[in-house]
């Protein structure tokens, strides 16, 4: 979410010893071995695109989280924590946990029992072909572009951190992902994502542990941050009463309703990149438990992302600056805080683990993009719009070729971004246009049986266009942000929140008006797709501690306790 791009190349931050290089090489060898081992288990469409729908709750849940836990996410949000303080934690707690629990308990049963291959596939079942086509084409296009943008940004990071050549980073990482996803399909992507989840923790966990030791514990850390920055940097909610009382320039309405209710719910419940992992679950209980397991671990991620940023504020001798300033002065930017902390504490071996964690994070995100793109292209674009009569074997072959072509398009995008850096901002903005309206369309489709095909299509289209319109308005006239975010004190991050909120409102309003003006869909055609007309399957006769509702309640309690503790 946070852009990572430096236009100048300062001296490399760390130097790898031979043992570090061995650890990195072993990682590449292992992920390729897993892909090779699984190549015989990806011969049918269900195997290649849906991993045979046999993943346990733990595997699906960790993969679901890992697909989101990219290296740019880790480094970007550590940088945001340095820049904005503990407020960045909102993107991990209120900006994720309620959405994941909503997905588990409310939406997952419909995705699962409809046996859809994808989120656009659900739109086809619920609203018809036009909605699916709009959603699938926009998702496929944006996913592959985002993958390229992330690839370039990661190569740039590797150049800054390790001094690696950009071309080497792009080709080695992309070819590795292409090989193991082409060989083993979604199962290979999921297995490697779970492996990468463990490597990320193994490589990143020492930084906060040693950092807290050096800072003298949490209480001393807070005092040092208050001294070097501001007391507001260690409060989650206390400064959100108004736009001007906190470093982000946002208020609680934007965080709760923009981020918590729309952006995060839209992302976690309708972005096929993450939802695809849950559709591979072996049964309904696993499909519901997986996002709850993901939520439990998501609550802990700030420990390896936000805390290093806060520790950087307290213990790093130099003051980090914005990218634009660092590019001119040759200093280190906010986004360098995680590698700087890595270099501060990690000697031979540990450094290799930390660098492997960054590479693993990048590759899990890229594999997620590529496997989601492959499925949407094959099942939601190629099969319905180009070749309806292919055999299962034909579609699997199409999936393999699409994986390779998707990676090559991503590489092409990476080189395009290298030539025209501003493309990066446009692509990231474009991706955000679709999330909020898509959530509005899907959630109305699941919860309101009166929503019609025309309502769904026009709501999705108008919501997306309104988001584009607001973005363009602020781009042309930056002072327009005061109208979009309803405050003259609003800053850039507030724009994302309010833009999403308004796009969602427009989508829902248009869907309702058009639906009420058009003929309802007969109830018989909505069975299995809408609440009230569907018998939601039971998770079975299992003890309390195996029930999704029980664990969702546990996660909810911990979520509230954490927010109160760091209020």
């Amino acid at each position: 979410m946070t852009p990572l791009l430096a236009s100048a190349v300062p001296p490399r931050l760390v130097h790898l010893s031979p043992v570090d290089v061995v650890i990195v090489v072993f990682y590449f060898a292992l992920v390729l071995s897993i892909g090779w081992y699984l190549k015989g288990r990806a011969n049918t469409g269900e195997d290649f695109f849906m991993a045979g729908r046999e993943m346990t709750a733990w595997v699906a849940g960790l993969s679901f989280l890992s697909a989101n836990l990219g290296a740019l996410e880790l480094m970007g949000w550590a940088g945001s924590a340095y820049q904005y303080g503990i407020l960045a934690t909102h993107w991990y707690w209120i900006g994720a946990i309620p959405a994941m629990l909503f997905l588990a308990l409310v939406m997952m049963p419909f995705y699962y029992i409809s046996k859809t291959h994808s989120v656009p596939g659900y739109l086809k079942l619920r609203f018809g072909e036009p909605s699916r086509a709009l959603s699938a084409v926009s998702f496929a296009f944006m996913t592959v572009l985002m993958s390229g943008v992330n690839m370039f940004a990661m190569a740039k990071v590797m150049q800054i951190v390790l001094g690696w050549d950009i071309n080497f980073s792009i080709w080695v990482s992309s070819l590795t992902v292409a090989i193991y996803v082409t060989l083993g399909g979604l199962r290979s992507a999921i297995f490697n994502e779970v492996l990468q989840f463990f490597l990320i923790w193994a490589g990143a966990l020492l930084i906060p542990i040693l950092g807290l030791y050096e800072a003298g514990g949490w209480t001393n850390l807070k005092l040092q941050i208050a001294h070097r920055a501001s007391e507001q940097y260690v409060h989650l909610w206390a400064g959100l009463g108004s736009f001007s009382n906190n470093p982000m320039g946002i208020n609680w309405v934007g965080i709760v309703f923009g981020l918590g209710a729309v952006i995060s719910t839209g992302y976690w419940t309708t972005d096929f990149l993450v939802v695809q992992r849950l559709l591979a679950a072996k049964d309904i209980r696993s499909a519901e438990m997986a996002p709850i397991i993901g939520a439990g671990f998501k609550m802990m991620v700030p420990f390896i992302v936000i805390l290093p940023g806060l520790l950087g504020l307290a213990v790093l001798p130099e003051k980090l600056v914005p990218e634009s300033v660092a590019a001119v002065t040759g200093g280190h930017s906010y986004n360098d805080v995680l590698p700087l902390m890595l270099a501060r504490y990690c000697g031979p071996g540990l450094l290799g683990l930390g660098v492997t964690a960054l590479i693993a994070g990048f590759m899990s995100g890229m594999a997620g993009n590529v496997s989601a793109f492959t499925t949407v292209w094959t099942y939601d674009i190629y099969r319905p719009l180009i070749n309806r009569k292919g055999s299962d074997h034909h579609y699997v072959n199409m999936g393999r070729w699409t994986t390779i072509i998707g990676v090559l398009i991503s590489v092409g995008t990476a080189y395009l971004v290298m030539q025209f850096a501003s493309i990066m901002d446009y692509v990231q903005a474009l991706f955000s246009f679709f999330i909020a309206p898509l959530f509005g369309t899907v959630v109305l489709g699941m919860l309101w049986k009166r929503a019609t095909s025309a309502g769904g299509f026009w709501g999705l289209l108008c919501g997306t266009l309104s988001s584009v319109g607001m973005w363009a308005w602020v781009k042309v006239d930056p002072s327009a942000l005061r109208y979009v975010a309803l405050s003259p004190h609003a800053k850039a991050l507030a724009q994302d929140m309010y833009q999403a909120l308004w796009a969602f409102v427009v989508c829902v309003t248009v869907t309702v008006i058009v639906s009420l003006a058009t003929n309802p869909i007969p109830d018989g055609e909505l069975t299995g797709l809408v609440y009230g007309l569907t018998e939601v399957p039971s998770v079975g006769d299992v003890p309390l501690y195996q029930r999704p509702l029980f664990w969702a309640a546990v996660v909810t309690v911990i979520f509230f306790v954490l927010n109160i503790m760091f209020w």
Binding site: V19, I23, L206, A343, C346, G347, P348
Partner: protein, 68 residues
């Protein structure tokens, strides 16, 4: 099919062993300029050992022979 947890065990065990070995080497032959803060804690020794132990437990528990 070999369990994913076995692969994770192999990864943790190998990485742990390499990190532990690097740490022990530095313990026996301390560098003149360690280049890291808190070098005296020898984090690569105990963190490498933790990863090695967890990795071996996973390797043993999810070994293909035991699973079959």
């Amino acid at each position: 099919m070999v369990s994913i947890w076995f692969f994770i065990g192999v990864s943790l065990a190998v990485n742990g062993a390499l990190t532990l070995a690097a740490g022990v080497y530095q313990l026996l032959y301390p560098p003149a300029n360690p280049g890291v803060v808190l070098f005296n804690l020898h984090a690569n020794v105990w963190w490498g050992a933790v990863l090695l132990v967890f990795g071996l437990i996973y390797c043993f528990k999810f070994a293909p022979r035991r699973q079959s």
